[in-house]
């Protein structure tokens, strides 16, 4: 890839010609704050946190949208830049409830983190004339609190550009702008498929999963694993508190790129459900009785052998599950063909 020379914070550096300033800074280990940027989305340039000073530019430029150019002189943390970021944060926080004590997003909130980093207290523009908007909890899996929304636009863009559902958009103008859905009839009446990708990207506490267990971000242990619902192999992070799964975040896996569907994102409550089967049951006289695994396997093997002997291999068929891994599915068909001796093997995802 062709490289060019830029001067960033007084130092010369070689960067990829096609980079934006944000990408260039990152490649050089310089952290530029941003709220609305997401590498998977078309740069939005709305939050104005990533503004940087570029020599000879009239105004500050957003690092996320501005491509680098040969000899460009960039300052990512000049006084002018810091002041601008501070005022932007002051404006955001002035229009945001200061309820971090009870907000479940605390500890995982970009607004909170940047206010801490830039010493922004929310006092400068306090007393903003803001509306108290109703919380939309019509969806079964998540809630939307427009009062906490800072209009970074990530949810709208994820829904539109990655999920391709376009269930939400912006309504209103100026200060009345808000994230909205058709006819403002409640999220549940939109085309939303409850994938929860908007919830995963929300940098603040506006879009939150409906969780039964309260937890703080710093209380949970995160374990990366593969989602067990289908064979796509989405990578997820289970959030575990007191040995109990309390939430799921998408991880950046090669097959899911940080996205999930409704099952992967919200369908983890079966894990600790009291009705969940943990030991095999064998039916005797019309009643299920608990058994050991050995008893269960023995029963399956003897029944299959019996049927095979009496009616032949082709009287047996296997149906494999998309919830199992590729390897398990491979073994299943191998068993049907090599052990049982039939080609009667099928899979629920074979269309």
């Amino acid at each position: 890839m062709e490289k060019i020379i830029i001067i960033i914070n007084g130092k010369e550096a070689q960067v990829d010609k096609n980079f934006t300033i944000l990408q260039a800074a990152k490649s050089l280990g310089i952290e530029v704050p941003t709220i609305c940027n997401d590498n998977r989305l078309v740069p939005h340039g709305a939050c104005r946190m990533c503004v940087v000073e570029v020599k000879n530019a009239r105004a500050l430029l957003t690092a996320c949208t501005t491509p680098v150019a040969e000899g460009m002189e960039i300052n990512t943390h000049s006084e002018r830049v810091i002041n601008s970021r501070k005022t932007t944060l002051e404006l955001m926080i002035a229009n945001h409830p200061l309820d971090c004590l009870t907000c479940s997003k605390a500890g995982n909130c970009k607004l909170q983190d940047y206010c801490f980093e830039y010493d922004v207290t929310g006092e400068k523009f306090s007393g903003f004339d803001k509306d108290d908007l109703p919380i939309d909890d019509s969806n079964d899996f998540y809630t939307f609190d427009p009062n906490k929304c800072i209009l970074c636009g990530k949810c709208v863009k994820v829904c539109d550009e990655l999920q391709c559902t376009s269930a939400i958009g912006f309504s209103g103008r100026g200060f009345s702008t808000h994230v909205s859905h058709p006819f403002e009839a409640g999220m549940d009446y939109s085309t939303c498929v409850s994938c929860g990708n908007c919830v995963s990207v929300c940098p603040v506490g506006a879009l939150m999963p409906k969780e039964k267990t309260k937890f703080r971000e710093w209380e949970v242990k995160k374990t990366q694993t593969t989602c067990s619902y289908c064979g796509v192999g989405c990578q997820i992070e289970l959030k575990v508190k007191n040995n109990k799964v309390v939430g799921v975040d998408p991880a950046m896996g090669p097959s899911n790129d940080g996205l999930l569907c409704v099952k992967g994102k919200f369908g983890y409550k079966f894990i600790n459900h009291p009705d969940r089967l943990k030991i095999p049951l064998i039916k005797k006289d019309g009643v299920f009785n608990e058994a050991t695994w050995d008893e269960a396997y023995d029963l399956i093997a003897s029944k299959i052998n019996e049927i095979k002997k009496e009616h032949g291999s082709d009287s047996i068929a296997g149906l494999s599950s998309a919830r199992a891994t590729n390897e398990d599915n491979y073994l299943m068909q191998k068993m049907m063909r090599a052990v049982i001796g039939t080609n009667n093997i099928d899979h629920c995802a074979r269309l």
Binding site: T66, T87, L91, G169, G174, F175
Partner: protein, 596 residues
């Protein structure tokens, strides 16, 4: 062809149409028929004459008699006297048409004398709904010349040489802009006319579309040829129904005559044009928002680069020019760049149309060479402030501009001088303010507009302008506190520095410039809780002076009965109960009531 001895031109711009121009026109036609002059006198519906303050306006040629404030009941007398008997009806003429006993023709009136009409050349002269009248004024000759005698590069070079700069606000050199799109290779390019005129008080684009729609169509085809675009859109706001209607008629007529469509003038060049209606969002005048709107998305700006000339409508190279910019193109192609440069200044050649409004006698549209001084515009053309009031400032550039005070009134107007004194050309709105205007209130008014019209995308514009507006609201209602001016400036400079698009970056200008020139007024509001101009109601109190003759008129008419006093004795206002409606001031026969 019939030769008529007299022509009656009826202004049919939006202003005059709202004052019954259509009925006046119909009565002229009827009456002329009644007196049997229909073969001698032609009645023509034209675009705007510019002097909207005196509308409905009628011009009668060959005399050039300028009848103002016309009405249906005056028509018969004008026809009988002027057209039948040849006696100009002096009493209905525009007030400045009569100098002692001499009757001046329209060209000799001060309002028109200093104007130079290039963009408005045909406005108020031809019937905008008749393509033949446009053709008779050398219409479509420029397109013919470009397509048959010039190659695209030559057209671009000509526009570059002319020095024409975008008239929509930014002042970017048009020829240079065209060359950006021309050098891009693409399967499709687009030419867009930005007719989403949104500045409060500016209506030159509407006037051109209403009075001379073909000039825009012709210029778009020339631009399309120059940059290699075969498809064009006119993005015009739906609140301009007359303009939209005349543009539709004009596009259809041009298509019928083969001046739009396939193989124009047998040159092999195709150009098709469509209208897109805007829903009146100010931000859609910003080119990336306009493109989003045409594409069917919400009108929101996006960051540049990529610039539309590289990636515009449906990611194809796109040029967007404002109506007035385009209205200059045909003239430049026909008369050459030297001719165009013979008006205006070195860096801002040509003319500019300004919409005069506010506290000025001659409200309306004027087209003047760049470099004319504000003094000439306001006093010689505009006739100064009404009722002998003193001129205080003029706001140019609408809500994105700033105010210009008396001390800068002799500066020649062009793009660069206006920017250097903290204002901007903008689209050419000029709102004049006199001693009765409170500059804090004016700043609040303009910010009110930008707060409403912000697209809501970026934080500084969406939340910052709202916060500034709140501070200004506090100041004008007597709740201002020490440090408010500094807070306003801090916000203003952050917004200017970090907002996403031109709308946001220029939104604080009215506040910055009023603080710069009228800081004392802000301080009076904050420190003394006093509005020096007597505008901000919460800061005013009404008092009755010793001049009171005790006529009781004020007390009888006060809607809240807060004035008391005996007959023939001085009255008193209960300032706590007073709602500051001002009716006592209007009623008092001896001007004994003051507000301070």
């Amino acid at each position: 062809m019939t030769i008529f001895r007299s022509h009656v031109l009826m202004c049919s711009g939006t202003g005059c149409v709202s004052s019954n121009a259509d009925q006046i026109l119909a009565r002229f036609k009827e009456k002329i028929k009644e007196v049997g002059l229909e073969k001698e006198v032609q009645v023509i519906k034209t675009g705007c004459f510019g002097l909207c303050e005196s509308g409905p306006n009628v011009l009668i040629y060959p005399e050039g008699s300028f009848y103002s404030h016309m009405s249906v009941d005056k028509v018969d007398e004008v026809v009988d006297e002027h057209l039948l008997k040849g006696r100009i009806v002096k009493k209905y003429l525009y007030k400045e048409s009569i100098d002692k006993d001499l009757i001046k023709s329209v060209d000799e009136i001060n309002f028109y004398k200093k104007q130079k009409r290039v963009a408005l050349k045909n406005c108020g002269i031809i019937d905008p709904e008749n393509i033949n009248e446009y053709i008779a004024m050398n219409g479509y000759m420029a397109l013919g010349k470009a397509l048959t005698e010039m190659n695209p590069d030559e057209v671009i070079q000509l526009i570059k040489d002319s020095g024409l700069r975008g008239r929509g606000g930014g002042g970017f050199p048009t020829g240079v802009k065209w060359s950006f799109a021309a050098r891009n290779k693409a399967d499709q390019k687009y030419m867009i006319c930005n007719a989403d005129e949104g500045d409060p008080g500016a209506f030159m684009d509407r006037s051109v579309l209403e009075g001379d729609p073909h000039t825009v169509i012709e210029a778009m085809a020339i631009a399309g040829y120059a940059i290699g675009a075969t498809k064009g859109f006119v993005y015009v706001r739906a609140e301009y129904p007359i303009a939209v209607n005349r543009l539709e008629i004009a596009i259809n007529q041009a298509k019928e005559k083969g001046l739009l469509g396939k193989n124009i003038f047998n040159s092999g060049f195709d150009f098709d044009l469509e209208i897109r209606l805007g829903a009146g969002a100010f931000v859609c005048g910003e080119e990336t928002s306009l493109i989003a709107s045409i594409e069917g998305h919400r009108g929101m700006s996006r960051c540049k680069p990529p610039f539309p000339a590289n990636q515009g409508l449906w990611t194809r190279p796109t040029i967007i020019n404002n109506v007035e910019t385009l209205a200059n193109i045909t003239q430049i192609v026909l008369n050459g760049s030297k001719w165009f440069r013979s008006f205006g200044t070195e860096n801002s050649p040509g003319t500019k149309v300004f919409a005069l409004g506010g506290k000025i006698n001659n409200t309306g549209l004027v087209e003047i060479p760049m470099g004319t001084t504000l003094r000439e515009v306001i006093y010689d053309i505009g006739g100064g402030c009404p009722n002998g009031k003193e001129f205080k400032a003029v706001q140019t550039g609408g809500p994105s501009g700033g105010c210009i005070t008396k001390e800068n009134i002799d500066i020649p107007i062009d793009f660069d001088t206006l920017t250097s004194i903290g204002s901007m050309m903008g689209s050419g709105g000029m709102i004049v303010m006199d001693e009765d205007n409170c500059m804090v209130d004016i700043a609040r008014f303009f910010l009110d507009f930008t707060v409403d019209e912000s697209c809501g995308k970026c934080t500084p514009c969406r939340d910052g302008t709202k916060k500034m507006h709140e501070i200004l609201d506090n100041i004008t209602s007597g709740k201002g506190i020490n440090g408010d001016i500094e807070k306003l400036l801090d916000l203003a400079y952050t917004i200017k520095d970090s907002a996403l698009c031109g709308l946001g970056q220029t939104a604080p200008n009215p506040v910055i410039s009023t603080i710069r020139y009228f800081r004392d007024e802000y301080e009076a509001h904050i420190n003394e809780k006093r509005c020096p101009a007597g505008v901000c109601k919460p800061l005013l109190s009404y008092y009755i002076t010793d001049n009171c003759i005790g006529c009781t008129k004020c007390a009888r008419n006060c809607p809240v009965n807060c004035i008391s006093g005996e007959v023939k004795k001085k009255h008193v206002i209960d300032t706590n109960a007073c709602i500051k409606c001002g009716s006592c001031i209007t009623d008092c026969p001896v001007n004994a009531i003051i507000k301070r």
